[in-house]
């Protein structure tokens, strides 16, 4: 019950997806379509589960008054307020939910990511060193691409954009394709192991 049924379910669900690529007949296509519809719904529940988990851990911190509990409290308040406003008042543009999205979600997430510009610049100065042939090659190509991809590069040498494009299309492309083929082989074997129940780490331990 605890492992046989999940393994059987993973097998049926996965095989339906794979086989439906080769068997167009409705006797496979129809159940496969139903299964995809189910996957959509279960995944939505999984996201809500994730959110519930964040709330649970945060509330635990608040209840025990451990370090930074005040921040966790703010987190829970923000979560409940946002979800409540959205579910009760709707998500359409012009509403309060939309307002909070545009004026809070958008600036905060965008700014979080923009911090990385500073970190990269600082790492470029303090840590990126041409300590080997490989690292040297990497840094030289990086510098060429950085200059060749912005308008100022054209001012330095009119051929720079074309040369940069050649780097992207030839050596970069070849290596990325090699990585891609390796990753595809890995994805297929991992998928197979999951479908056949050889790999069960996602089920957790007993």
């Amino acid at each position: 019950m605890r492992t046989e049924i999940p393994v059987a379910m993973a097998f049926i669900a996965g095989m339906l997806m794979v086989v439906s690529l080769f068997v167009p007949h409705p006797f496979i296509a129809e159940p496969a379509a139903v299964m995809r519809g189910w996957a959509i719904i279960i995944t939505a529940f999984a996201y809500v589960l994730g959110v519930a988990n964040i709330a649970r851990i945060s509330l635990h911190t608040v209840r025990n008054r451990t370090t930074d509990w005040q921040y966790k409290a703010a987190l829970v308040v923000a979560l409940v307020a946002m979800a409540g406003v959205g579910i009760a008042g709707g998500i359409n543009s012009g509403g309060l939910f939309d307002w909070a999205y545009l004026n809070m979600y958008v600036p905060m997430q965008a700014t979080m990511f923009s911090l990385l510009a500073f970190f990269i610049a600082s790492a470029a100065y303090r840590a990126f060193r041409a300590r080997s042939v490989e690292a040297t090659l990497l840094l030289v190509v990086a510098a060429v691409v950085m200059l060749g991809r912005v308008p100022v590069g054209e001012k330095l040498w009119p051929g720079l954009p074309a040369f940069t494009e050649w780097i992207m299309e030839v050596p970069n492309m070849a290596a990325k394709r090699g990585i891609m083929i390796g990753a595809a082989l890995g994805a297929i074997s991992t998928g197979l192991k999951m479908i056949l129940g050889i790999e069960r780490s996602y089920l957790g331990s007993d």
Binding site: L21, F22, A127, E134, A142, G186, T190, L192
Partner: protein
């Protein structure tokens, strides 16, 4: 190429239709068109393909309508350019037999014979794909079986692993601890599991050198697994008494808070060897920068290709992509991992051979070999 010509095998117009067309062509004054409706192969039985020929000129348009045989209530389908190669009517039912009619301005309408769509049990245009998948599946399973039966498989020396040993040696000389960061993803990421295998081996080495190892962890579920790996490593080195449970530290499950915590460890405890193995994201360069500024020897490994540039530029050695998995297979000798690695190696050899043949045939101008691999 028009989709129809790719999807329909060359369905010639049948003899009766040719005779009919001759008959119609004999009647003067009116443009004559003949129409054929056929099932679209390799589909789920919801489409029919129409082809036509006759006295049509550039710029003519045809109106297509259909009826459910034997009923003759015509319903409009589409108006198309007469010069196109054909038309595919979709969204039909297998249970109905259809008749089609096309009309051109000033021409006699043409009717098709009754036909119903049928569903295929096998998409024959994907046979090569199916064969490739089946062969690869089988080789994965066979290699896993062989590995489980104890067959010894050779895995090449992975220089990154030697670099780790060197780094630990240096830390020992300097009398400073080793830092091992297993990425920031949970156990559902295979990289984290691979990292735990490598952690076990690193712990074994540090124990035999009697150098402390610090393992900061970002996800609560990883903590017990990391503790177990370190403990086991110390046992394997025969020094279980050196194991210090306080050195596997859960810092925070928020990315940047975790990063700040690890930076703190590097600066305060002056770790001399920093090892980053697992799934890293934007924090990679922040960690590597701090480690560089403290003068530590750094070895990294991740299959998150987007972070590798920073590890390569700021660390002394980096395991690239699949090398991380290969290292864990090499160290753990786990059949699942070894079998997969071997099957993927076999596939790569075959791919290289196929690529060689493909390039030679293409250079010679023969495209039929390469076209076998065109995915449809």
């Amino acid at each position: 190429m028009h989709p129809l010509s790719r999807r329909l095998p060359s369905y010639g117009l049948t003899l009766p239709l040719v005779l009919l067309s001759l008959l119609l062509a004999a009647s003067p004054g009116l443009a004559t068109v003949i129409l054929e409706a056929v099932d679209v192969p390799n589909d789920d039985g919801t489409a029919l393909g129409l082809t036509w020929m006759g006295d049509l000129a550039e710029g003519d348009s045809l109106t297509i309508s259909r009826a459910a045989y034997p009923d003759t209530a015509w319903s409009y389908v589409a108006t198309v350019d007469a010069m196109r190669e054909g038309y595919i009517d979709q969204g039909l039912s297998r249970k109905i037999t259809y008749v089609y009619k096309i009309e051109s301005a000033g021409g006699r309408p043409a009717l098709s014979g009754p036909v119903s769509p049928s569903a295929s049990f096998l998409n024959t245009s994907r046979l090569v794909m199916l064969a490739v998948l089946a062969l690869y599946f089988i080789s994965v399973l066979i290699y896993i079986k062989l590995a489980a039966r104890g067959r010894e498989f050779f895995v090449r020396r992975i220089s990154g692993l030697n670099a780790i040993e060197e780094a630990i040696g240096r830390a020992t000389e300097m009398g400073r601890p080793v830092l091992y960061v297993p990425g920031i993803d949970d156990l559902n990421n295979i990289q984290t599991i691979a990292s735990m295998v490598i952690l076990g081996d690193v712990a074994r080495m540090t124990a035999s050198y009697e150098t402390p190892i610090i393992v900061p962890v970002c996800k609560p579920f990883v903590v017990p697994v990391a503790e177990e790996a370190v403990k086991q490593g110390f046992m394997n080195a025969g020094r279980p008494e050196l194991y210090n449970p306080d050195n596997v530290r859960y810092l925070s499950d928020e990315q940047f808070a975790f990063t700040a915590g690890v930076n703190g460890i590097m600066l305060r405890e002056r770790t001399a060897a920093n090892i980053y193995m697992g799934s890293f994201f934007a924090e990679s360069l922040i960690l590597a920068e701090t480690g560089f500024s403290t003068g530590a020897i750094q070895v990294a490994g991740t299959a998150n290709i987007h972070q590798l540039p920073f590890f390569v530029a700021a660390c002394d050695y980096a395991l690239i992509g699949e090398e991380l998995y290969a290292a864990s297979a090499y160290l753990s000798k786990e059949p699942k991992l070894l079998g997969t690695l071997k099957a993927s190696d076999l596939a790569k050899v075959i791919i290289m051979v196929l690529l060689g043949i493909g390039c030679i045939t293409e250079t010679l101008g023969l495209t039929s070999f390469a076209d076998l691999f065109t995915a449809r």
